[in-house]
């Protein structure tokens, strides 16, 4: 059985070859998306969900904390962005900051309550808090617009000081979201290889031993929860901007389950890039299979079942095994400090 610690490259670099490959693919996407039958808005959705999935995997894959109510924080971020635009000011940075802070605070509070639990109790509590948030979004009509959602959220312009970029253009918004994605990629890459990240992985593997070598285990679980929900908030803010609206549906149990599915299918349990693969596979399946049949979700569900049964490490795990069979050297197994 392979695991995150087993195959994660141990590079301490700020930018890795994998990052360059993903950046090249993402930055060139507007040039080739249409030629393969896809469209620009899909690229925006994919980039936003990559941010969400990577943040979620800090908790799910690295922390081993199975949150099934994470949609709540995506939704809180979306509403916070919309409410900021409607009631405070039309501001890109203000709205995104509000999204991150609102989701981060909600996540910190819920995290403080759930991080003393583990396993099934942790999972059930995250579902319960997620459902509370979803219920509030539907019932607090005066604030959230109820089931109709928060409509007419503007896409504020990006003011760079020397130039103003109109984000109403989908290509411009795509590049903005992609830039945000790479900030998150670098941030999470550093976190997962930092002392904090390594301790989080140790907690996942053996909570008891982590306590006996001197760590307050719950603090690490809480911090991972808070960071992960703040990133979900950023994704939610970007999602509200892309959709120009915020709906309670993103907070539903179904939507929370979707991110778990994407991360698992992609191989988030065994590789940093697993969530990215999972998101691409889901959205391409939705659009390509969806164009062929209305029952595309059934086929996607069946693929999920097959994956769990035969390759539980997901796509990233399958690629790792393939690399090993082809004789490609395994991931770096020696510290850069030792190689010097």
């Amino acid at each position: 059985m392979i695991s995150l610690s087993d195959i994660s490259p141990r590079s301490g670099a700020w930018v890795t070859p994998q990052m360059v490959i993903v950046a090249a693919a993402m930055l060139s996407a507007p040039l080739w998306l249409r030629s393969v039958g896809l469209y620009q808005y899909l690229g925006i959705e994919i980039a936003i969900w990559m941010i969400y999935a990577l943040g979620f995997n800090l908790l799910f894959g690295y922390g081993g904390l199975h949150s099934f109510g994470h949609g709540a924080y995506l939704g809180i971020g979306a509403y916070a962005f919309g409410l900021f635009q409607h009631h405070v000011a039309v501001s890109l940075w203000g709205g995104l900051l509000a999204a991150i802070v609102a989701a981060g605070i909600a996540g910190s509070l819920v995290g403080a309550a759930v991080s003393h639990r583990r396993g099934i109790y942790f999972a059930l509590l995250t579902i319960a808090y997620g459902q509370v948030a979803w219920f509030c979004a539907i019932k607090l009509h005066w604030l959230t617009g109820g089931e109709d959602g928060l409509l007419n959220i503007p896409r504020p312009a990006l003011d760079l000081g020397f130039a103003v970029v109109d984000l109403n253009d989908n290509t411009a918004l795509y590049y903005f979201v992609t830039a945000a994605l790479f900030v998150i990629v670098v941030l999470l890459w550093r976190i997962t290889n930092s002392p904090f990240g390594r301790i989080l992985q140790s907690v996942r593997q053996n909570e008891m031993r982590a306590a006996f070598v001197g760590y307050e285990v719950w603090r690490f679980k809480w911090a991972a929860f808070a960071i992960s929900t703040a990133i979900a908030g950023l994704a939610g803010g970007l999602f509200a901007m892309a959709q120009e609206s915020a709906y309670p549906d993103v907070m539903s149990l179904h939507q929370s389950g979707l991110i778990v599915m994407m991360v698992l299918v992609g191989g988030g349990l065994v590789n940093f890039w697993g969530p990215v693969l999972g998101v691409v596979l889901y959205f391409v399946a939705r659009d390509v299979l969806g164009a062929m049949t209305e029952t595309w979700l059934l086929w996607y569900g069946l693929m999920f079942v097959v994956m769990v049964m035969f390759r539980p490490e997901g796509l990233a795990g399958a690629l790792h095994v393939l690399r090993r069979r082809l004789g490609v050297p395994a991931a770096l197994r020696r510290a850069p400090a030792e190689q010097a």
Partner: protein, 247 residues
């Protein structure tokens, strides 16, 4: 003055009294042993001394400071470390990572989120030194789960000593080991005794009598005898229990 003292410790689970008025003390630089038959309360005693269980009554002091009821993480930071009878490692991590996470200098950087641990040559070197001590330097980058049983036992001890403790509790260190691995472990403990105060629970009497300076015999949740290995062999309570003959 003893480095570690426990006085009048009581522990019960429901109606079952497991420890009844146990008092123990371990001198600095000594190797102390705790022995007794199965079900005598040795492991519970260890769990109480290392913070896994809180005692119902009694006082525990370490270097003169009261530590009764403190959590395992607080005790680890004060210099009390332990290994486990049932292997308790970070199995999916490399051997060196298991040790690195336990280092005090790594713990001091626990809030650091942007610097890669593998950029820090001093951390890697400190972990290597620990692996050298337990004879695992050559397997530093192998996953802990892939080690043979004897090496996993050595890594258990490596993780415990990586914390640079003043006192090291070893819970049945020979459990599951063959004769050769037991001899290697005895050699390792002889090396470690020059640096650490060691307390061992052990069912292998010859191993314990060979290494320990003082031994406490626990039976029916009480200390029935204590002294040097030679004194215990002559003790009538120990002879009556049959434990002395095993040594």
């Amino acid at each position: 003055m003893a480095l570690f003292e426990a006085e009048h410790i009581h522990k019960r689970f429901g109606a079952q009294v497991v420890l009844e008025d146990i008092s123990l003390s371990f001198g600095e630089g000594e190797v102390s042993g705790i022995m007794g038959p199965n079900g005598a309360g040795k492991t519970t005693c260890f769990h109480v001394l290392t913070g896994h269980y809180k005692p119902d009554r009694g006082d525990i002091r370490f270097a003169g400071e009261p530590i009764t009821g403190l959590s395992p993480q607080s005790l680890a930071r004060k210099g009390i470390s332990r290994s486990f009878q049932i292997m308790n490692l970070f199995d999916q991590s490399a051997v060196i990572e298991n040790v690195m996470v336990a280092l005090p200098e790594f713990r001091a950087r626990r809030r650091q989120m942007t610097r890669s641990v593998f950029d820090d040559a001093a951390l890697v070197e400190a972990a290597r030194e620990v692996l050298d001590q337990v004879g695992l330097a050559a397997r530093a980058w192998e996953p802990a789960a892939s080690l043979p049983y004897g090496d996993r036992r050595a890594l258990e001890i490596g993780v415990a000593i990586a914390a640079r403790p003043r006192i090291l509790f070893l819970d049945e260190p020979t459990s599951g080991l063959g004769a050769e691995a037991t001899r290697n472990l005895a050699e390792l403990i002889r090396k470690l005794r020059t640096r650490y105060t060691i307390v061992m629970i052990e069912h292998d009497m010859s191993f314990l009598f060979d290494l320990a300076d003082r031994i406490s015999v626990v039976h029916w949740g009480q200390v029935i005898a204590e002294g040097t290995p030679a004194a215990l062999r002559a003790n009538k309570w120990v002879q009556r229990s049959g434990l002395g003959e095993l040594a």
